[in-house]
Point group: C2
Chain length 260, copies 2
DNA sequence: CGACTAGTTGAGGCCAGTCAATGTTGGTGG
DNA sequence: CCACCAACATTGACTGGCCTCAACTAGTCG
């Protein structure tokens, strides 16, 4: 279970920053969409340079989020979406008996907070799995700008729809795949997202624990651990703690077969 | 498994209607939002009468969909959302090996097709579980009108967000509840939706088969059947084929406990 | 160095899946 | 209207995949 963490944004809003928390001075980072490595994956994808500047102007803030800190918590008022510049996040829902269920992992170029669109409050938490960096997009302004900039509007819709579809894919995964197949889907999905971002898709370091993987895939951490060992014994991959080498991606793919 | 069915809308678009298919003449039904029983649950909720009339004008068509017919199929081009006036639908994804996974059940006042927003094609099928009736909302026009009518815009966002949240809730259900708990959640959710629509929440007729329930809840039809029998033996409900009487809703709720 | 967290591995049990037989329901055509 | 058939549903016996509980290792941090 995750220990108590502080919400950087909440603490900026309502309380003096704790002594240990380094708040990056605003001038230190004033990056622009045009120079951002995530440009083509993120909201500005396909926008003209004028439109990108408009988008820049509504980005209210660039925030560094330290590992284990949250972007927002369940119940926090919904004001903004967050575009990830750097790092990795998990989003989760808390059950009433205190367990957490991981709903997704999010990396550079992705938008989090979308599930709260149309509500006044966030339903779950979003927590950094490593030191990360996000752009804060005040939703009211973003929404207004999207009315004026059709390609931004389309991008926004695409991100929203991706969110819905991800839910559907996870239902398929959780509802009809066996544990080994789920893990294979998870690894291949990660590999694909790393490739898209210019990283190696054959070798990467997991940002999440066995327990977090298990939660996301609807199983227990021991099962994840056993499956890693088993897939390694089969020669499909190599596991060294959180470092994963995919030795045979197509073999992993065959595990899933036509079932997905 | 569902047999071959015809897509009413597709056949209207691309092929002459089959002889047996009764196409309701347009003038037979020209209902308006203002007089629709689903008004307060659906997109026009909270709109002024002027705004409702504008919404009426973009509703391109009112369509009767017979049991087993589809509103759209996987791969169909995305042009419209559909507001359910009457009846029940299931939405599903087909796996590559031909199995179907039910993603949701939809009834009066709900909007289907949202997952294709931002894509050009639908990813899954939506099929009527009983003779039903929908309003066709051409998305381009709806989107345009939403820019001009803030409350419509908000409603649209709320429906979209509900879609995302439903996915999350299902992940929670599939990832962390046992079969009996899942069925309890399902029944209580149905009961709640019937209550919202003015029907009895204690006694209702399921529109879906055991297999469809099982698919939705990530289990096998035999398990669903056994659980119905078991819950009946416990005195929590009474099952007679597809007719369900909830004898002890709070008992069902206690089954789930704090786990959701 | 000890306390703690993360991960691995084993033994055993149980929940839900599989396979199979039987009962029930509802639609269709004679 | 009834008989028939196919689809739907129930129930039982058995199996197996994953969970539970537990012991142990490795790495980390004060």
């Amino acid at each position: 279970m995750i220990g108590p963490t502080t919400s950087i944004l909440a603490s900026q809003r309502c309380a003096p920053a704790p002594a240990l928390q380094r708040v990056i001075p605003f001038r230190e980072l004033k990056p622009h969409c045009a120079s951002c490595g995530m440009r083509d994956l993120c909201l500005p994808a396909g926008l003209g340079s004028d439109e990108m500047r408009q988008l820049d102007q509504i980005v209210s803030n660039h925030v560094h989020v330290k590992r284990r800190d949250s972007l927002f918590r369940s119940g926090d008022p919904f004001t903004s979406l967050y575009a990830i510049r750097l790092g990795t996040f998990k989003s989760l829902l808390l059950t009433q008996d205190g367990r957490e269920q991981v709903m997704g992992y999010h990396m550079g170029g992705e938008i989090v907070g979308i599930d709260a669109i149309g509500n006044h409050h966030h339903a779950g938490d979003v927590i950094a799995l490593e030191d990360s960096e996000v752009c804060v997009l005040p939703f009211a302004k973003l929404d207004q700008l999207a009315r004026e900039v059709p390609s931004l509007h389309n991008n926004l819709l695409r991100f929203i729809s991706r969110n819905v579809c991800h839910g559907h894919e996870m239902m398929l995964l959780l509802g009809s795949l066996r544990a080994e197949e789920r893990l294979a889907v998870f690894l291949l999905d990660l590999a694909d997202r790393y490739r898209t971002r210019g990283y190696s898709s054959h070798e990467f370091v997991l940002r999440m624990s066995r327990e977090e993987i298990a939660s996301y895939l609807g199983m227990k951490l021991e099962t994840v651990s056993r499956l890693f060992s088993h897939l390694q014994a089969e020669g499909l991959l190599q596991v060294q703690g959180r470092t994963i080498k995919l030795l045979d991606s197509s073999g992993l793919g065959r595990l899933i077969g036509q079932r997905c």
